[in-house]
């Protein structure tokens, strides 16, 4: 479905202006006041690689950096050439070139949850909680817990004071906003009347049945199944004395994200969905008074060759009309087809970018041209870093 001949190359071809607003990622990374950078964006835009590249660049420049990724596919591990990441940051060997240190970890959701429980209660009660079927489900198999725990882990790492910069990659959520909403959702949940009814001390389900909720409780019990409701109620009771602590922590982390030392970097590709998601996220950050540093427009395709307007089109038409199988013809035809495709892609990308910038002129943008091959080692991350922050 490529349209080598259908797309006019127009004035944007080769001669397109760079829009004025640029996001200076180098300055952001070098600034000692920058303590936390959160990369966000919809799935598949290159968040993890971008986070890793920024972390490498800051470590090379002399900072002590931790990069936290939350990703079941272990992409950061691949990018950093590590066989495995666990729930504690590990030192990454950056070679002699680096003046600082890079530490990397991948979030283990279940372990973070377990640790949080252990930190808030007695060993006996922690053991009871961990044995509760409801807890086991929400801490491992249910999606969404990942976001809570990502925030918790960020809070923990920040509290140690060990790193002067923490770069956080966000979970591969449906939406970039999920990450931001996780702690609030926890707090909202704690405020929920339903949970308070269930959690009423020493009453639980039985009390509900007795106080005029008979019909309601019967329905709930019948639908959910008595066992499950009992497990849930027990879980809530066990958790009760920890809720305050959890909530305080969630609120501390949220406050941390509003701190002047925290910055959000939105990553998007030049596609309608990704840019729409980036725009939603930017608006949300603004309304939350959280600092948005800028937008990284990943994998753009500026043409390698610049030709005068219209020449590429006429040349391609001539090439495609020519049946010759001579080496010179084959090479030239391929070169023109590839070039024209790239120009078409570039024009489309500039159009998408202009639309975004027109709607949100205050947001600085860095376009990052697609690298010829995927980034999966330190050298690749450094190459990417020089494009991000020349």
């Amino acid at each position: 479905m490529t349209k080598p001949d259908g797309t006019p190359s127009g004035p944007a071809s080769g001669t397109a202006r760079e829009p004025a607003t640029r996001f200076d990622a180098g300055a952001l990374l070098d600034d000692p006041a920058t303590r936390i950078i959160v990369t966000c964006g919809s799935g598949g835009v290159g968040k993890t690689t971008t986070a890793a590249a920024m972390a490498v660049r800051a470590a090379d420049a002399g900072r002590t950096v931790a990069v936290l990724t939350i990703d079941p596919a272990r992409r950061l591990a691949q990018s950093l050439g590590l066989a495995e990441l666990d729930n504690t940051p590990r030192r990454v060997d950056l070679g002699d070139a680096a003046r600082g240190e890079l530490w990397a970890m991948m979030l283990d959701t279940r372990r973070t949850f377990d640790d949080m429980v252990s930190a808030h209660t007695s060993p006996e009660r922690a053991a009871q909680i961990m044995a509760n079927p409801f807890y086991r489900s929400i801490s491992s198999s249910f999606s969404g817990t990942q976001e809570y725990m990502a925030m918790e882990k960020l809070g923990q790492l920040a509290a140690t004071g060990t790193w002067d910069l923490i770069v956080v990659d966000t979970p591969p959520s449906r939406s970039a906003l999920d990450f931001l909403d996780a702690p609030q959702r926890l707090a909202a949940f704690l405020d929920g009347r339903m949970i308070r009814l269930l959690a009423a001390p020493s009453r639980g389900v039985m009390k509900l049945v007795g106080v005029g909720f008979t019909l309601f409780a019967k329905a709930v019990t019948a639908v959910i199944g008595g066992q499950m409701l009992t497990d849930a109620a027990r879980f809530v009771q066990l958790f009760e004395d920890m809720f305050g602590g959890f909530r305080a922590r969630a609120e501390t982390t949220y406050a941390l994200l509003r701190d002047p030392g925290s910055s959000f970097v939105v990553v998007a590709t030049c596609q309608a969905d990704a840019l729409r998601e980036a725009a939603y996220f930017a608006d949300r950050l603004t309304s939350e008074r959280m600092p948005l540093a800028g937008l990284i427009l990943n994998r753009t395709h500026p043409p390698l060759v610049e030709l005068p307007p219209k020449l590429d089109v006429s040349a391609l038409e001539a090439a495609e009309a020519d049946p010759s199988k001579a080496k010179s013809a084959v090479l030239a035809r391929a070169a023109l087809q590839l070039h024209t495709n790239q120009v078409a892609l570039h024009v489309e990308e500039l159009r998408m970018r202009a639309r975004f910038e027109g709607a949100r002129p205050e947001i600085g943008v860095i376009p990052v041209p697609a690298l010829p091959t995927d980034v999966h080692d330190l050298a690749g991350l450094r190459t990417l870093a020089t494009v991000l922050a020349p």
Binding site: A73, P172, S175, L186, A222, L304, A332, A334, D374, H376
Partner: protein, 329 residues
């Protein structure tokens, strides 16, 4: 492409997953059109509350009801359903009881929030439950010939599909247990196929292969790998191999370009040679990715690249290609 194993009963539930950015919604829509071709009725389900189907078909946001969104060649039709979790929860309660009062009470007490916040996986339970309902509706004379699901991405799809197993364990008895077991049985049956959309790039391919391993481990039926955005071949093998090794005959290239009216010398000629070298490198990477995918033993279906966002007309072209390549049926 050979037809799928003929002994197998027809797949009626197609789950389409893929790493973010691989185009799974587009592929799911094209697959729905392909399956509807020739007079069939197909339902396309959106699970992530993103209104991605509406955007793709250039429609206003879809409500929580099954509506016709496209006609397929040969008299078929595609209906779409964007699942709304809160509405699905109310439906779920109503399924077991006539809960006029209780449903309202539950809503007022924050039951929806309770359900989807305490256990976000309940969303998945509700969504997979709704999917099963649409597949089995009508019993012997099913309402839909096929159901296509635009599922969560590869990183989450096994949790999504496996949630009913966890749920059946959690609710050890009662209607939820039975319902969860029923959904789980359908998802693990030969009536279901999970298709994976990927690009010929390292990370999507790695994720695809990992997801296949996880799906197999969870005993979920894996269908085809759909390779999206396949670039056309531009050079014969010999020249491609030379270029990959770094050799481009610039004198020939210059002559050829001159023949088409482009005077290329110096930097321009070098840049054109780089265009070819870069293409050759990418072709080699893509060939390696393809070999890794082929090693899984699953059928591979190719869909071509489009330089711009996929438009409605192109969806039909993609659907035709899927029909030509042999849609798993």
């Amino acid at each position: 492409m050979e037809p799928m194993t003929p002994a197998r009963p027809p797949v009626r539930l197609h789950i389409v997953t893929g790493k973010g950015g691989t185009g799974k919604t587009t592929v799911a829509a094209a697959l729905a059109l392909a399956l509807a071709t020739g007079g069939k009725r197909v339902l396309l389900i959106e699970t992530e509350e993103r209104q991605a189907i509406a955007q793709l078909f250039d429609l206003p946001p879809l409500p929580y009801e099954e509506r016709r969104i496209a006609l397929a060649p040969g008299g078929g039709e595609v209906r779409a359903l964007a699942i709304d979790v809160e509405a699905a929860l109310m439906e779920y309660f109503a399924m077991f009881y006539n809960l006029g009062f209780a449903a309202r009470t539950l809503k007022r007490l924050g039951a929806v929030e309770f359900a989807t916040t305490l256990a976000p996986g309940l969303r998945d339970v509700l969504i997979t439950g709704k999917i099963k309902e649409t597949v089995t509706r009508g019993g012997e004379k099913p309402m839909y010939d096929a159901v296509v699901v635009d599922a969560p991405p590869t990183g989450r799809v096994v949790t999504f599909l496996g949630v009913t197993v966890a749920m059946a364990d959690l609710a050890r008895r009662g209607p939820i247990h039975n319902q969860a077991s029923g959904v789980s049985a359908l998802l693990h049956s030969a009536e279901t196929a999970v298709h994976l959309v990927t690009l010929l790039e390292d990370m999507p391919v790695t994720e695809t292969i990992e997801a296949i391993g996880q799906l197999k481990e969870a005993e979920l039926p894996v269908g085809s790998i759909i390779v999206n955005q396949v670039a056309p071949a531009r050079l014969p093998d010999k020249l491609l191999a030379e270029a990959e090794a770094g050799t481009v005959d610039t004198a020939a290239l210059r002559r050829g370009l001159a023949g088409y009216g482009v005077t290329a010398a110096g930097a321009t000629l070098t840049a054109f040679a780089d265009v070819i070298r870069r293409y050759a490198e990418q072709s080699a990477d893509r060939a390696r990715c393809r070999a890794e995918l082929a090693a899984t033993g699953l059928p591979l279906l190719d869909l071509p690249a489009s330089p711009t966002a996929v438009e409605l007309g192109e969806l039909y072209e993609l659907a035709e290609l899927l029909v030509a390549e042999g849609v798993p049926a």
